[in-house]
Subunit: 181 residues, 2 copies
Amino acid sequence: MRTEIRLSGRGGQGLITAGIILAEACGVYESKEVVQTQSYGPEARGGASRAEVVISDNQIRYPRAYNPDILVALSQEAFDRFSPQIKEDGLIFADTFYVETDKKEVISMPFSETARTEIGREVVTNILMLAALSATTRIVKLESLKKAVKHRVRSAFIEMNMKALDVGFKLGEEKWKERSS
Amino acid sequence: MRTEIRLSGRGGQGLITAGIILAEACGVYESKEVVQTQSYGPEARGGASRAEVVISDNQIRYPRAYNPDILVALSQEAFDRFSPQIKEDGLIFADTFYVETDKKEVISMPFSETARTEIGREVVTNILMLAALSATTRIVKLESLKKAVKHRVRSAFIEMNMKALDVGFKLGEEKWKERSS
């Protein structure tokens, strides 16, 4: 069992941090093999940002996510560029506010809006999004995300990020129920 | 031209942050292709930590650093484990305080001691070490490291980290002169 996840958006949206927290949650707090990768090249200089996480029950020989099972896009540019590369039957999550699309298979979720309205800070969008992924895809447990956030986030910001995790998980649960009904 | 770098030590020594800053410095502020990787698995649960950076003038097809050109070890465990994997003619940098070795080819440098005595905070050892690498190996320019630190470090800590970069660069220059004379 191997799952490839690509988190994408603009620089400054905290996607590298999100990738590291997701990788730590699965790799340190659950018994998975995990490789987490960032690439920098011409695309990074253009302002695009992406982090890749590969999670597996076995040793990971090939650490890149060329055909992700799960794509998160927090910007239009990232969505337009990466959504064609998703695996068949893969899941695409797009931020409702930043990504416009008429593709019905895309799961549009108000990550950034919920961060603004429920937490009062858009900066936690990345963490809120991880919890929504946890609720919908089950790739990682909420509890493991909480442990990784406590380990990785500065103490002054832990409470806000814990709240973002709870709110994001609830958002994911509701959205999933809606789709399944 | 491809260079593989492995930064290793214990959890909490900031090696993942160091890997990200090095990768951003080369990939965003210099015109290189860079891939930066963390792996989590049984070893991470044991407290070991490592980050790998591959820097190339061309597209990177294979992103792991299995035979590093450059190894930094900030703990004895990391040194004992990873130093046998270094490429022939590769460079090994070990922290004078945390790593004991009688191998003459190892470049022992007082990263953590210098951070404590010159900056007053051991927490900047990771950043100081990057600047020392810049002075000795020329894999990245000091200027690019400064830009990446400004981008990635919280504003309250930028001044301290800038000082760590200057001190680390000087340390690297002195050590290199000593070895060459």
